[in-house]
Symmetry: C3
């Protein structure tokens, strides 16, 4: 056997693909000696996702030759939803099938056909933000749930002291102020779709904190890193420029 | 600052407005030195609601001049639903906006536009019931959930020993008997809409017990009082007279 | 009073009729000195249900003369859903009504009209399976929840070592392997509707284990028995023969 992965912390996979499946239809996952990774851009070119999991994230990681597996994200997510708290996930590849096994009281084996795809490696856009802060992931997720009452878009604003999340509407508005406690010397702000941000924060269990990199009328970069530093999930979300005219 | 209210027991507000929003579209809330209150009649003139919260209910109550605030009940309820268990609610008024702040890990500030309204004070109907009993609020709420299987209306009946809640339908009927243990000398009974009563008992967390005042073919009066006696929520619900012909 | 039943373990009734109501519209229940029982076949003649509860299952069982009660399963199930954990169920019959009482904080009495029916006793088909194993009921229920991703039918297969549950579809497949640990000398397999099996396993709380009797292209027999041996719930489900061509 030249390809076999085993993962006991199944929450990582579940949270990542719950988010990705809400953003992207099909994804090509690459496995090689450096780990598992994917780069994907959604159909409307608004959200870019990058996932990198080093071999150390897995309980077992055997991958003698690089493998590319293209899967339907919805199907893969439907399968991962069936994984129970204490199940161990095993991944293998066999004759055009991606095989996901959950080991628990019974052995539950799911196969999905690998999609034929002319994979062109997506290159993540290279963006540097002057303004970067760390915030609790669940605070962000909760804040987004507050936002949809009055509008479908929001402004993210970071100043010296606060991260502000602001949503204005015809009948009212909401603003959330979070004291970030970091050394920020300038103000950055942009407007984003609330729904797209909610899709991103479906992955909030990936790590307790996330990094928010913000500019003016620029994409926001949201980065979740495993506490062990051997896994990164990063999103780049385009702003809704038309809203600032 | 001449107007500022703070309330740490947010469950009071949440339960009251969850009920009110299911009954009434817009409500005018009055704040003055005696407290916060509202009187409202639903569009179809079936349910009358009265709420009175004395300043002592609040952790802080500053109101130098009387204020009238007319709000969309659905919007206000949507906002209150976002309030978490340990959040402190702050209410202020600012340039035509009613401002609701939840203080928790972050500061979450919601503004709703105050509605222009020619407020005519609703006067609660003056009804005296000979038959009055106290019953557990959640027993009533549970009983109402049992009732919808066979019909959309029910009979409330109080006799010497029991509160009876009866619903008859083509395919079956339900009756619930609760031993009230009070000194009742006559029988009173009327028929009401099950759905309207369910809307009222959405407020059942306001107090563990409620008072039910009943007459014959008359409105029922349901009164929740805070254990501290400084807050009252009262409903008057018209009977479905046509059903007794 | 010549007919009165009392049951404190209300979960038995709730789980049985939750399943039956999803399979069968109307059912005739027979009560006599040997206990309560029913035999019913669904409208499309795919699932046969047998329930037998001996008098010992009940806390009180008074039945001087045999009684037949035909009820609408949906209505009966709606009523049983209102039964709370600690409620005691009482069953009586009165002038064409089947009366279900829940004794808890209040006394809640539900009447359903007995349906007029020319009851012809259904005789359960007599089928003997060579292959019979015991499996945990909740393992089966969980497995069925995994199955619907790719198809609406599945194969049950029992061999020397394993129960296998297999579902194939255009985009993928699932198979679940459970080590049964019994002495099986031959292989049996048939194909069934996933939905019909899910309806059956709504009754999985009836007993922790169930017996699965399987043949080749034959109905499967699924038997739940109370640990006290005085109650049996049995299902016979026809195979989907057309799928094996």
């Amino acid at each position: 056997m030249t390809f076999k992965l085993e993962l006991s912390d199944n929450a990582i996979f579940k949270t990542v693909f719950d988010s990705i499946a809400s953003i992207i239809d099909e994804v090509t996952i690459i496995f090689d000696s450096e780990g598992m990774r994917l780069n994907a851009l959604d159909r409307s070119h608004i959200t870019f996702v990058t996932l990198e999991l080093e071999p150390e994230v897995f309980d077992e990681y055997i991958c003698d030759e690089p493998e590319k597996v293209a899967v339907d994200c919805t199907k893969f997510n439907q399968i991962l939803k069936k994984c129970k708290t204490n199940d161990i996930i095993q991944l293998t590849i066999d004759e055009g099938n991606f095989i996901i096994v959950f080991e628990g009281d019974a052995t539950r084996r799911f196969k999905i056909r690998v999609i034929d795809t002319e994979y062109e490696a997506q290159v993540p856009p290279n963006i540097n933000h002057n303004v970067n802060i760390k915030v609790p992931s669940n605070m962000m997720q909760d804040a987004l749930n507050d936002m949809l009452i009055f509008s479908d878009k929001l402004k993210l604003l970071i100043d010296e002291n606060y991260l502000k999340i602001i949503s204005d509407g015809e009948f009212g508005d909401v603003d959330i102020k979070y004291l970030h406690g970091e050394n920020i010397l300038e103000v950055a702000q942009s407007i984003y779709s609330i729904e797209k941000l909610k899709d991103i924060f479906k992955a909030s269990k990936f790590s307790k904190e996330c990094n928010v990199g913000l500019g003016n009328d620029m994409p926001v970069m949201i980065t979740f890193e495993l506490p062990t530093r051997d896994g990164v999930l990063r999103y780049l979300l385009a702003p809704r420029l038309e809203e600032r005219g």
